[in-house]
Amino acid sequence: MVYKYLTNDIIKKIKECRKRFPLKEQCIIPTLHQILEKYRDIPFQALEELAHYLDVPLSDIEGIVSFYDMFRYPKKGAKNHIRICRNLPCHLANYQRILEDIKEITGADIGKPNKMWYIELVECIGSCGIAPAFLINNDLYDGSKIKSKEQLEEILKSYITEEADEHQRQDTKAT
């Protein structure tokens, strides 16, 4: 099988993982993290490749993808993933304000991603001390410090960089 998504660097990581943990199933979640990190998405073909490489049933991998919230696919390849917390402390801090502003600025919506943005409401992200909290990719933001829409616009703009374009080019190359 020729792999399109399991690139050499990912396979190297799987090998390290296999050395580290006794069960091959223990490499599924870590590898899905790798795939998500690299492609900002979990394409179905990547699951097939992983099943083939680890020699585990595809249904085991599909079962994991559908169980864990961080892996729910498809994210439609959006470049940036925004996760806004909707649990009680963030609810009390009116996360809806942040959500509305983000929707306006990005033009995306929950369930309606575009090329650049995937927006999701999530449960508590353990940041209730800075509620309303949200994540852009791996960066955590304190919504209470964001006083204006302009400020939010600045932040979001910093994710639309040449690097992101470069990333996109590389991804298209890889696919």
Partner: protein, 429 residues
């Protein structure tokens, strides 16, 4: 590139303490490296443990300390260890760093700012349990914490605190970090073990308990981050540990407090502190408003006239993880409950029908209440569910899913009234 250079920036979460035990190095928002950890007394408890104590001496110390698990259930740690020690080697130690209960953000402070405290606690615990290996299961949404732990483990290995023949004692121990991927249920210890073995996080039927049949089918102790971080403190202070806090509930406790207080954050205190004193510690109420209610995470509700509740593990105490979410006079209990019921519906793993369907029905009724579409019959059914879901579920999520609703029914009947007849100002004003 060095791991340290890739770590995402840490959130500016406020932390304060007048005890300086668990938060001794963690009040400022930066990661303490091994150098600083050692020069401020770090790893001296490990040296003491390996040089001066046999494993069973440490188990006895932990038993005497009255330390209880900080992950929610409050089970006596010494007793849990004793139980695991009755079962043959190889044994495993697993640190529960899944921290996903709404309003809980205390473990991350230790992980991100003082990771070696947790590692030292784990190594000593591993020695006490004569464990083969330790694992840290960290929630997927803490990428910085994951990298910080990986880096700290590397540092500890380089200095001989981890790996083969630790500090020449003959004891060997390794710690591996494993990332979750967004599922509250994986904090439940048996679901965690399933997840750690690379499966869907479905809780296991108990007995057997993890102390008997745990990771890879071997005896396993699962302890919370904060629980394990207490171990170096217990070894350092020995009998003096019993001077910290009230009888029976000795030791420092972390309290993550959020909602309508002036200074949300993580506060370290002894467990004789009351709910009111904790709110005061967090700078009091925002805009000088009155407290309406306090949510103990998603698991229970306290009324304004219960603010003298002690934050301990007594039957009348606050207990649990110490998670405190404060609502003010203008907040609506039903509105807050819809968030909680939605959460449980979303997080039920679906293995038991009463939990899967019951959490859904709870959520539907709460949404109806909020919209003014519910009837007396719905509220009656809600009462039925709050008995029925726990009675027919196999894990702690099902046992506790209706707690907040049941508390609200008992303590805030007027709020239900106000939604049946649509007089709630916030929802219908």
């Amino acid at each position: 590139m060095n791991i340290r250079d890739r770590i995402p920036r840490l959130p500016e979460i406020y932390a304060d303490s007048n005890l300086n035990l668990l938060l001794r190095r963690a009040k400022e928002n930066r990661t303490v490296d091994i150098e600083e950890y050692e020069t401020t007394g770090g790893y001296s408890a490990l040296k003491k443990a390996l040089n001066r104590f046999r494993p069973e001496d440490i188990v006895a110390l932990v038993e005497e300390s009255t330390l209880r698990g900080r992950g929610g259930a409050g089970f006596p740690t010494g007793r849990k260890w004793r139980f695991a020690l009755m079962n043959p080697q190889p044994r495993y130690l697993v640190c529960n760093a899944d921290e996903s209960e709404p309003g809980t953000f205390k473990d991350r402070i230790i992980i991100e700012r003082d990771p070696h405290l947790l590692l030292e606690g784990m190594i000593i615990s591993g020695y006490a349990l004569q464990a083969k290996e330790g694992y840290i299961y960290i929630r997927g949404e803490y990428p910085a914490g994951y990298m910080i732990l990986e880096n700290a483990i590397q540092e500890a290995k380089e200095r001989g605190y981890l790996g083969k023949n630790i500090l020449g004692s003959g004891f060997s121990f390794d710690i591996k970090v494993y990332r979750g991927a967004g599922a509250y249920i994986c904090g439940e210890e048996t679901a965690l073990l399933e997840s750690l073995e690379g499966k869907r996080g479905h809780p296991r039927l108990r007995p057997p308990y993890p102390a008997q049949v745990g990771l890879y089918g071997r005896p396993t102790v699962v302890n919370n981050v904060e629980t394990l971080s207490n171990i170096p403190i217990i070894v350092t202070y020995e009998a003096y540990f019993m001077n910290i806090g009230p009888a029976g509930f000795y030791g420092p406790k972390l309290f993550p407090i959020s909602g309508k207080v002036n200074r949300p954050g993580v506060y370290e205190a002894t467990m004789d502190i009351t709910l009111q004193e904790l709110i005061d510690m967090a700078g009091g109420m925002k805009d000088n408003k009155d407290v309406k209610a306090v949510f103990a995470g998603a698991l229970g509700i306290y009324r304004k006239d219960e603010l003298d509740t002690p934050m301990d593990y007594s039957p009348k105490g606050f207990g649990g993880t110490g998670t405190t979410i404060v609502l003010d006079e203008d907040d609506c209990i039903i509105d807050a409950l819809t968030v909680i019921t939605n959460f449980f519906h979303h997080e039920s793993c679906g293995k038991c029908t009463p939990c899967r369907v019951g959490t859904y029905e709870q959520d539907v009724i709460l949404k109806k209440l909020k919209e003014g579409k519910a009837t007396e019959k719905d509220v009656e059914y809600l009462k039925h569910l709050s008995k029925n879901i726990p009675a027919n579920s196999i894990c702690g999520l099902g046992y506790s899913a209706p707690n907040a609703v049941a508390d609200a029914l008992e303590k805030f009947p007027e709020e239900f009234e106000a939604h049946l007849n649509k007089t709630c100002k916030r929802c219908f004003g």
